[in-house]
């Protein structure tokens, strides 16, 4: 009788453990206790970030996108959801990026001389040799980074409040939470931008954008895992696979222009130099698409645009409005385009100024 009871108890415990394990796995990784760090002023933190020398590290970055972008089958990476990428750098310009996309992967390796881009989907390597552009520009802009940082802080403070709002644990590292919030006079969709800065390396570990009226960030980019220190040198080498096709970016681009609907739209938008209206958070970028470009927009692209925009009209004319949580784009039927991290009313008020 006893033995049976013991066995039964063990079996029950097994079931319960399994169930508990399932719920544990399902729970989002807890943020953990925020670390206690010495106080630091916002200004000096920003300065330290700007002046910090990037070191070698490898890690996984996760993009949590809740921007409210439509899920377009052609560009899955833009859809809401989580995407992760792995990144390695030796701190001296050598870089490796692995961007998984479902079962395929794009790998970008910069070995210091050449940038290799490999896509498993089409078994193709794009090889682009670095142009010989020695660091001459350094001489020109030889302002010391600390001064530059101070300048940026001053500029930013014109439109925003910069504060250090406690600490956080990101990818198991202690970090300060640096918060930029637009001044109340700014007519923007964005409530605040939180940047978690590694307490030791002074390197941003996570950036979150919060919008008005939402408790959850609209978008977060941050490390989920990071190991700081020298990385395996082999990671920064790339040998094209034996049977892969190797092309150059120029050839690739020419090909892409013909094919992709986005490319057509992009070309249309690049018609004229963009104009900036306003300052700070509520600045709006405007442009005019040449009339012929407007008609040249490929049908697929037109279809895409129609699918995800709302028809609007006002004293300024009529057009299509595309809204996300962090930005709004207004395309007038006559080719004027304005966009900004602002509510639609600001765009209606601004579009008249587009030349």
């Amino acid at each position: 009788m006893n033995k049976r009871k013991v066995t039964l108890a063990v079996a029950t415990a097994g079931v319960l453990t399994g169930a508990a394990g399932l719920s544990l796995l399902a729970m989002p990784a807890g943020a953990g206790q925020p670390p206690s760090l010495p106080d630091v002023s916002a200004e000096s933190l920003v300065e330290q970030v700007m002046t910090a020398k990037p070191g070698a590290f490898g890690g996984t970055v996760e993009v949590d996108n809740k921007l409210g972008l439509p899920s377009i089958a052609e560009i899955p990476q833009l859809a809401d959801g989580k995407h992760s990428a792995r990144i390695w750098t030796d701190g001296n310009g050598k870089l490796r990026l692995a961007l998984p996309n479902g079962q395929s992967e794009q790998t970008i390796v910069d070995d210091g001389k050449t940038t290799w881009s490999w896509n498993s989907q089409d078994n193709e390597v794009t090889k682009s040799e670095h142009k010989d552009s020695p660091k001459e520009s350094n001489g020109e802009k030889a302002i010391d980074p600390a001064t530059a940082a101070k300048e940026i802080v001053t500029k930013t403070k014109e439109f925003s409040d910069i504060t250090v709002d406690g600490t956080a644990r990101v990818a198991n590292r202690a970090a300060y939470e640096l918060v930029l919030s637009p001044k109340p006079t700014e007519k923007t969709l964005i409530r605040e931008v939180r940047i978690a800065v590694d307490a030791e390396l002074k390197m941003p570990l996570r950036v979150a954008v919060l919008t008005n009226g939402a408790a959850e960030p609209a978008g977060t980019v941050g490390f989920t895992q990071i190991n700081v220190g020298p990385q395996d040198a082999k990671l920064f080498e790339f040998t094209p696979p034996a049977n892969a096709k190797v092309t150059t970016p120029e050839a690739k681009e020419a090909q892409a222009r013909e094919k992709l609907p986005e490319a057509g739209l992009e070309a249309a938008l690049q018609g004229e130099d963009p104009q900036i209206f306003g300052t700070g958070w509520d600045s709006v970028i405007g442009a005019r698409i040449p009339a012929d470009a407007m008609t040249q927009v490929p049908a697929e692209a037109q279809g895409l645009v129609d699918r995800f925009t709302k028809k609007v009209s006002g004293s300024w004319g009529s057009g299509k409005l595309f809204t996300t949580k962090v930005a709004t784009i207004l395309i007038a039927d006559d080719g004027r385009v304005v966009a900004g991290a602002v509510p639609e009313q600001v765009l209606f008020d601004t579009i008249g100024q587009v030349k």
Binding site: M1, N2, K3, R4
Partner: protein, 334 residues
């Protein structure tokens, strides 16, 4: 002799009992399959378990083997309490319960080898020999290589028996072993049981075939509606079942009168009387009759057969209850 279901007051020494149950009860949902079963299986005995369909024979056997957990009651098997002692007791028990169970895609021999692999008492190197011996013993050696799928009912039954006899056992439990066997097979079972008995193995065999039980068993337990209505040694039971004298006489009235005076119970039957021999003897009855001037044409000793005993135990009660058939239906499988 024990015809009651109450626990025996003078329990025999523990060693002498191969299996014993106390107040066994099993419910399946609202159906009571077995209730208040106090069974005793003396060591070395061949106990025949009798009972009509659905009387609880198989259920009792299953509980004895630890296959089914009793709702109430205690079981002792080869000196060990069940179900905790099952692992110690069961290796010494061979069983064939509710028909043989084997894999159709394996041959008879392969099936036995698989059974043998799980016999704790069988050493690995002896498996082959044990399997061949068992096959030989049940007369399946010729068909051992054939798939079980193609076996006839009797061959299947024999293979089941072979599995029960793979290892020398202290107790062999056979649930309706003669099911589907031809007369020769039935005789062989009888022979095997006798053989086991000779070697001192205790045997529990349930059967519908009364003649079978009468021929092979030393002890009998009769189940009816889930309870034991009689159990004990076969000879004792039969004697106690009472013998009678059948007397053929033309002078029934006078004879009845004379016997009543002599305080001997009798009743008219056919062309004469049936006289109960309880508390008297045949010569005494005849003497009484002759003295009274009754012409006795013929007097036959009426010995109770198992069949009659069985009928009396299981049907008399039925008649008393009247609506019993409905009860039985209610208690059917769900």
């Amino acid at each position: 002799m024990t015809t009651s279901t109450s626990a025996p007051v003078t329990a025999p020494a523990k060693q002498a009992v191969a299996a014993r149950t106390r107040g066994l009860r099993k419910e399946y949902g609202s159906t009571v399959a077995v209730d208040r079963v106090d069974l005793e299986l003396p060591e070395g005995a061949v106990l025949g378990m009798l009972g009509p369909n659905g009387s609880g024979k198989t259920t009792t056997i299953r509980m004895l083997l630890g296959l089914v957990r009793p709702t109430q009651g205690e079981i002792e098997l080869l000196g060990r309490p069940l179900p905790d002692g099952a692992e110690q007791a069961l290796p010494h028990v061979g069983a064939l319960v509710e028909g043989p169970g084997f894999h159709p895609f394996l041959s008879g021999r392969e099936n036995l080898i698989r059974c043998a692999a799980f016999e704790p008492l069988l050493e690995k190197r002896k498996i082959k020999q044990a399997v061949e011996d068992a096959l030989e013993r049940v007369g399946l050696a010729q068909a051992a290589h054939r798939r079980y799928r193609g076996y006839s009912l009797g061959m299947k039954q024999r293979l089941g028996l072979a599995a029960a006899l793979l290892v020398p056992r202290k107790l062999v439990v056979l649930d309706e072993p003669t099911n589907g066997l031809d007369p020769a097979g039935t005789r062989e079972i009888r022979r095997i049981i006798a053989d086991l008995h000779d070697r001192g193995t205790t045997v529990l065999v349930s059967s519908h075939l009364l003649s079978e039980v009468e021929a092979t068993c030393t002890h009998v337990a009769v189940l009816h509606r889930g309870t034991v209505v009689a159990q004990g040694e076969l000879t004792e039971l039969l004697q106690a079942g009472g013998s009678a004298l059948q007397v053929v006489t033309p002078d029934v009235e006078t004879a009845l009168g004379a016997l009543r005076q002599a305080k001997i119970s009798a009743r008219p039957l056919g062309e004469g009387l049936r006289v109960e021999l309880a508390g008297t003897s045949a010569p005494q009855v005849i003497e009484t009759l002759v003295k009274a001037g009754v012409g006795v044409h013929e007097a036959t000793r009426w010995k109770t057969g198992l069949e009659e005993l069985f009928a009396r135990l299981t049907e008399a009660e039925e008649a008393e209850r009247g609506m019993s058939a409905v009860d039985t239906l209610d208690g059917g499988p769900r």
